[in-house]
């Protein structure tokens, strides 16, 4: 603001414009100023029509620090004049933009173009979904108990949250393959395992490379679609399967009850594989305690304490079931006792046949003893300790 309209210039302009003498104009201006000051003093606020409002604003006392000495000083409160122009005047002034820039906000384009970002992930996930559904179909077409496929289906869900994908898939699932607790059938499992999990593993890592803004949104959407497909496929197949399963299990039981010998043939040599990998000891512990064991209803040893029970031979058997390909002691425990954690009992009852619980030969008849309520009670300390002891033994056997 280089130029300034001085007092005298203003007075002259006013006089000329209004057609009064300069003296009158001067008197008016002086009167205006005086009134303004007095008004501010008395009322703290003066409004001049057509111009704006003058206000006295109180600044509260505040603490500060003397910059040179570091000493704390008090800045006293004071008043200051604040002028807020009338709306019309303000607009007028503001409209006089130096460069006439419009008031439209200018949005920075620091976000990547969406066009750059291929929709590949969705496609890939779609393919994956198809594959997984196909695999599920395979799995389900094999006579696996209901519970197992369910676990299989759900595992990937957890794994599939985009950010975790690369990391979770590797550390969680692979160790499980190695973990010796779960009995594995020799050789065969590996054939199919690589088909299921690794595919997921292989494809996933590609996506995180494209770290763009809308990436996770896309992935989330596709994951949802995938989950829906999985759930749909699972329930569909499950319904179909339950009928088959029942019909299959009955003949098995008949056979085994009669013979009870190790030589029972495996009536269902299957391709079930893969699923077992996802079971791990850690999962065992995660199972909620609320499960109601099927065998509970039938228990006949209520009176006997859990500790004693363990020493006894497992005379009362629910059934004897040949080891399926891809099956696990933990799965059987889940099926018969309602909780995977009880698998050591299965080992204990079959020590003569199982050398390594994580690697049981296909077709090995597994005696499924009836457990007492005390043993199945996860809140029963004695039985749980006994179970723990068995588990340690079983794990030790795995390592041999």
């Amino acid at each position: 603001m280089a130029e300034k309209l001085s007092w005298s210039e203003l007075r002259r302009a006013l006089a000329v414009r209004a057609g009064v003498s300069e003296k009158t104009a001067g008197a008016f201006l002086n009167g205006l100023v005086n009134q303004l000051i007095n008004g501010l003093k008395s009322d703290k606020q003066v409004k001049i029509n057509g111009l704006g409002t003058f206000k006295l604003q109180t600044v509260a006392p505040r603490k500060s620090v003397n910059v040179s000495t570091g000493e704390e000083i008090m800045i006293e409160g004071y008043n200051k004049i604040v002028f807020s122009p009338e709306a019309g005047l303000k607009e007028l002034v503001e409209s006089r933009q130096p460069s006439d820039v419009s008031l439209q906000p200018l949005v920075f384009s620091d976000q990547p173009n969406e066009g750059d970002f291929p929709i590949d992930p969705i496609k890939k996930l779609g393919e994956q979904a198809d594959e997984i559904v196909g695999l599920l179909a395979e799995i389900d077409s094999i006579e696996e108990p209901k519970e197992e496929p369910k676990e299989v289906v759900e595992e990937p869900k957890e794994v599939e949250t985009p950010e975790e994908e690369p990391k979770v898939v590797v550390p969680e699932e692979e160790p499980k393959v190695v973990i010796p607790e779960v009995p594995e059938i020799p050789k065969e499992p590996k054939v199919v395992i690589p088909e299921e999990e690794p595919e997921i593993i292989v494809q996933r890592p590609k996506k995180p490379e494209k770290k763009k803004y809308h990436f996770f949104r896309d992935v989330l959407i596709s994951v949802l679609i995938l989950l829906l497909l999985l759930a749909g496929g699972y329930f569909f197949l499950r319904n179909q399967l339950s009928g088959i399963l029942e019909s299959l299990l009955k003949p098995e039981q008949e056979q085994t009850e009669q013979v009870e010998s190790p030589q029972i043939e495996n009536p269902t040599p299957t391709l079930a594989e893969g699923e077992g990998e996802e079971e791990s000891p850690s999962q065992l512990d995660l199972i909620p305690e609320g499960d109601i064991p099927q065998a509970q209803i039938l228990d006949e040893f209520n009176a006997i304490s859990a500790g004693e029970e363990l020493e006894e031979p497992y005379s009362d058997l629910i059934t004897t079931e040949p080891m399926h390909e891809g099956s696990r002691l933990t799965w059987m425990a889940k099926r018969f006792y309602g909780d995977k954690r009880f698998w050591p009992y299965l080992y204990d009852a079959n020590r003569d046949r199982i050398s390594n619980p994580s690697n049981i030969e296909v077709g090995t008849p597994i005696r499924v003893p009836r457990l007492t309520q005390a043993q199945l009670d996860t809140t029963n300390r004695a039985s749980m300790e006994a179970l723990d002891k068995l588990r340690i033994e079983a794990e030790a056997a795995c390592k041999k």
Partner: protein
């Protein structure tokens, strides 16, 4: 009140006031500051363009530069009113 002070009629005062406002506006438009003796200066200041960030969306927006009418009181009036 101004009328009393300056010995003018109320009508004249109002007329003068509106005239003065007109003059002030014209001069402000011409980028001239207006000095009122014993009171202060009205002037236009340019507020620089700045970048603001929308707190929720993180969107960055530039607020364009704009002019603002500023009143700078004269030092003695400032002091006088400080103690009120």
């Amino acid at each position: 009140m101004i009328a009393e002070d300056a010995g003018l009629s109320k009508k004249d005062t109002e007329y003068l006031l509106s005239t003065m406002n007109a003059i002030i506006r014209e001069n402000l438009m011409a980028e001239k500051a207006i000095q009122l003796q014993g009171l202060g200066v009205f002037e236009i200041k340019e507020r620089q363009a700045r970048v603001v960030v929308h707190p929720r969306t993180g969107e960055r927006t530039e607020v364009p530069s704009k002019n603002q009418l500023v009143f700078r009181p004269v030092a003695n009036i400032k002091d006088e009113l400080k103690k009120v």
